[in-house]
């Protein structure tokens, strides 16, 4: 089993690094827990669940079984948490209503298009487009109000930055997912594009680390 795990690491190094990197926001979240805002705490709990799901998916892949159902479930959970975080960040009724609508749509499509054996590409694309929209909504709030004194120590800004990188870096890949990420796609293409997604994931997790880290400075 251990040999199989080492084999998988060698075959998909970026995916392995991406899984390990999840530990960073987890550790920084634990260290900065007392400084985390309500929204960041929610994100932190999601990171814990995400980490556990990653462990489970690694375990399943080591056993040479299909783990894509876990990926699809994580995606569903992710969109729910992100939308809930942005629901808390925005106070205007219209913005809240819009985010709630996106949340409902994404969850509905996520359940409807749930796949146990393949990537559910439609929800993946829809979720990333939704992330861009919620980030735009928050940027609008950020620029119309000047309540934030130093944006570089404002945790939601780093979360938004992470989400933008995460969404823009992977949306097109998932849009053409059937050609490059499906089980019948050329293997070398799958490895190449999934490595890109893993690199993007690494950036996203690192930016979440920054978001947790700067919470201390904003609270001060």
């Amino acid at each position: 089993m251990w040999e199989r795990y080492i084999y998988l690491i060698n075959k998909y190094p970026f995916i392995a690094v991406s899984d390990v990197i999840t530990l960073c926001p987890l550790l920084i979240g634990i260290i900065s827990y007392k400084y985390l805002s309500k929204e960041n705490k929610l994100l932190f709990y999601f990171i814990i669940v995400h980490f556990l799901l990653d462990l489970q998916s690694v375990w399943i892949s080591v056993k040479n079984q299909n783990n894509l159902n876990i990926f699809n479930f994580t995606e569903l959970l992710e969109v729910t948490i992100i939308c809930l975080v942005f629901l808390q960040l925005n106070s205007q009724y219209f913005k809240k209503w819009l985010i709630a609508f996106l949340l409902f749509t994404c969850v509905f499509v996520g359940i409807w298009k749930f796949d146990f054996a393949e990537f559910a590409f439609v929800p993946y694309v829809l979720n990333r487009l939704s992330y861009v929209i919620v980030v735009f909504i928050y940027f609008n709030t950020l620029l119309s109000e000047t309540s934030v004194k130093n944006i570089l120590t404002h945790p939601p800004f780093w979360l938004c930055a992470g989400l933008i990188v995460y969404s823009t870096g992977s949306v097109i890949i998932f849009l053409f997912g059937k050609q490059i990420l499906a089980s019948d796609a050329p293997h070398e293409k799958f490895v190449f594009f999934y490595s890109i997604i893993s690199i993007i994931n690494i950036f996203f997790r690192l930016l979440i680390c920054v978001s947790f880290f700067v919470s201390k400075y904003e609270k001060k």
């Binding site: 000047t146 944006i151 990188v165």
Partner: protein, 269 residues
């Protein structure tokens, strides 16, 4: 490098472009938000400065009105009440000459005349105190000199007045001269009334385009912070600060209970 016919290349190009746009968006938001914030802070600063300037002008107007009113009262006292009293005195003198034979009446008349003379001199004194004519005619040094001589005659307090580097005839801006004069009146009044000072030292110098006035007394001293917070006893101090704020002056008071008080006033010329 990329084959435009190859869909994989297009995916990479599309992803790269989108990613770059995302990064540009993040940088733009961070930059624009900081710019907005700076703009807002500048606006707030300008509004605050305008408010301060408006308050300063209001205070200046109030002080000017006060001075004009002082001049009017002084003029009325001197020209009308003073003149009336003088005429009454002359008329009374004539009456007294006619009452020379009636001894009792003449004594009463003399007493009344003395009262009249006292009233006339009191009116003159009040009139002169209201408007420091010496200040207008001869300048700050002469008026301070005259003021402390008067106070010295009326009290047991001794004064030391020095004016290094300032000529007796040297003139400053009218507002500055009047402010210093009024502050000296307030400080001397405080030193005599509240501090029981036996010796007061006044030092006037100029340095780096500033008039520096140092007032020292050997009185009881006081707790500066507590007095300043007290709405009643801190009034004089706040008045002095208000007067100085009009001419961008600063006030520094150092006092310790039992060790006297030292006040340093700096006014830009």
């Amino acid at each position: 490098m990329f084959d435009s016919e190859n869909p994989y290349s297009l995916i990479i190009i599309g992803t790269t472009i989108l990613l770059l746009m995302g990064v540009v968006l993040i940088v733009f938001v961070a930059y624009y938000q900081q710019k907005q914030l700076r703009k807002d802070l500048n606006q707030q600063k300008q509004i605050q400065e305008l408010r301060t300037e408006m308050q300063r002008q209001l205070l200046e107007s109030a002080l000017e009105v006060q001075e004009v009113e002082r001049v009017r009262i002084a003029k009325d006292l001197h020209d009308e009440v003073g003149a009336m009293l003088s005429v009454t005195k002359m008329s009374f003198n004539q009456l007294l000459r006619k009452l020379d034979n009636a001894q009792d009446l003449a004594t009463m008349g003399k007493q009344t005349r003395e009262l009249l003379e006292q009233s006339i001199s009191q009116v003159r004194r009040i009139s002169k105190e209201l408007v420091p004519s010496t200040l207008e005619e001869f300048g700050l040094i002469s008026s301070i000199d005259e003021f402390i001589q008067k106070v010295h005659l009326a009290s047991a307090t001794s004064f030391i007045f020095s004016h290094e580097g300032i000529d007796i005839k040297q003139r400053f801006d009218k507002k500055i001269e009047l402010t210093i004069y009024r502050l000296i009146q307030e400080l001397v009044n405080n030193a005599l009334k509240h501090a029981d000072a036996k010796e007061i030292s006044l030092r006037l110098t100029t340095e780096n385009n500033k008039i520096i006035f140092t007032f020292t007394d050997d009185g009881k001293g006081f707790d500066f912070e507590n007095t300043r917070k007290d709405p009643k006893s801190g009034l004089g101090m706040r008045n002095m600060e208000s007067r100085l704020s009009v001419i961008d002056g600063t006030l520094d008071i150092k006092s310790q209970i039992g060790k006297g008080t030292k006040t340093i006033i700096e006014i830009p010329i």
